[in-house]
């Protein structure tokens, strides 16, 4: 049997179940945790997390990168 997935153009492969490179998918799971989890500290830190909407920023960044892929 041939392995069609190797010769199919990238577009159709991306349309299949692994639309995103594994690395990128893992990044999404990682950002779920790094931007919504972890001990939140305030006080003397350089940048107060509360000042920026990290989740919005990360989602926008990831979506932009997905769209810009060929």
């Amino acid at each position: 049997m041939t392995t069609p997935s190797r010769v199919e153009p990238r577009g159709s492969r991306l349309a299949a179940e692994d639309r995103l490179p594994a690395e990128r998918v893992a990044l999404v799971d990682l950002l779920d945790r790094l931007l919504a989890g972890g001990v939140v500290l305030s006080g003397d830190i350089v940048l107060s997390i509360a000042d920026i909407d990290l989740v919005r920023i990360s989602l926008r960044a990831v979506i932009m990168s997905v769209r810009s892929e060929p």
């Binding site: 990682l30 945790r33 790094l34 989890g37 972890g38 003397d44 350089v46 940048l47």
Partner: protein, 263 residues
């Protein structure tokens, strides 16, 4: 150092470090060192404020390449530390001005950190994502009205309606199954929380995600937990982890993470 460097904080553990720091490369390719205060150890890197100051950070956080590199470096250190001892990971890009401030933090929140570290000891975080299974297009159910007398337009609309009903039904069923799965997993876990479901653009899957749960599980119950996650429903399930307990580090007095259930 003030004005030039900041102290980037990755994680806090109890007791002296039990891993070799020489092999670790942190954010901005910086080495990792520790600050010990009382019973606590903080893992930190000295980072340039030209990159980690308030204004540069606001810009860099919108730069995906920078964000990814920093997130992966942060994660790498937290993972290494978590393999060596119960660990409280700190939120991404928490930067102090100097060691004295970190020491003060460790003194002030000493008992809070000990509480968190006791909660996560001998437990690991697992992610469970569940997707509504794509039901193959229903073979057109017998439609009595689609006789020779039915116009093509009418027949089309009827098929559309049936398909839409099928989708809605599938979605409702999947959502209900996801609730049950989450409840059952929560029953096994020491604590649980739900992250927002990922958009298909981010999940990389066409099927809608119906559950993006995080569970803090006793080491002794991991097998039971995974079996339940895999077999309990018809949903397509992805298990991620083990993770350092990122989702279970709310300090006492801090607002808990979204609808987290700690027991």
């Amino acid at each position: 150092m003030t004005g030039e460097h900041g102290v980037y904080l990755y994680a806090v553990t109890r007791g002296a470090p039990r891993l070799c720091l020489d092999d670790l490369t942190g954010v901005a390719s910086r080495p990792v060192r520790v600050i010990e205060e009382g019973e606590l150890t903080a893992y930190v890197s000295d980072v340039p404020l030209t990159e980690f100051g308030e204004e540069p950070l606001r810009r860099s956080m919108e730069d995906l390449a920078w964000l990814e590199e920093t997130a992966r470096a942060h994660h790498r250190i937290v993972e290494a530390v978590a393999r060596s001892a119960p660990t409280a990971p700190v939120r991404l890009v928490t930067v102090y001005h100097d060691d004295a401030q970190v020491r003060e933090l460790l003194r002030e929140r000493h008992s809070d950190f000990l509480t968190v570290l006791a909660r996560v000891a001998d437990r690991r975080e697992w992610g469970v994502k569940a997707y509504a299974v794509q039901v193959p297009a229903q073979p057109a159910a017998p439609e009595p009205e689609t006789g020779p007398g039915t116009s093509p337009g009418r027949a089309y609309l009827q098929r559309r309606r049936t398909a839409l009903r099928g989708r809605e039904e599938m979605w409702r069923t999947a959502a209900a199954q996801a609730e049950k799965l989450h409840d059952a997993l929560t029953g096994i876990a020491a604590a649980s929380t739900r992250h927002r479901v990922q958009d298909p653009k981010l999940s990389g899957r066409e099927e809608p995600m119906v559950l993006n749960g995080a569970y803090l599980v006793d080491s002794a119950r991991e097998r039971e937990f995974a079996a339940l996650a895999r077999d309990m429903t018809d949903l397509e399930v992805e298990i991620t982890g083990p993770w350092a307990p990122y989702s279970f580090t709310a300090l006492p007095g801090e607002a808990a993470h979204d609808d987290s259930v700690a027991r």
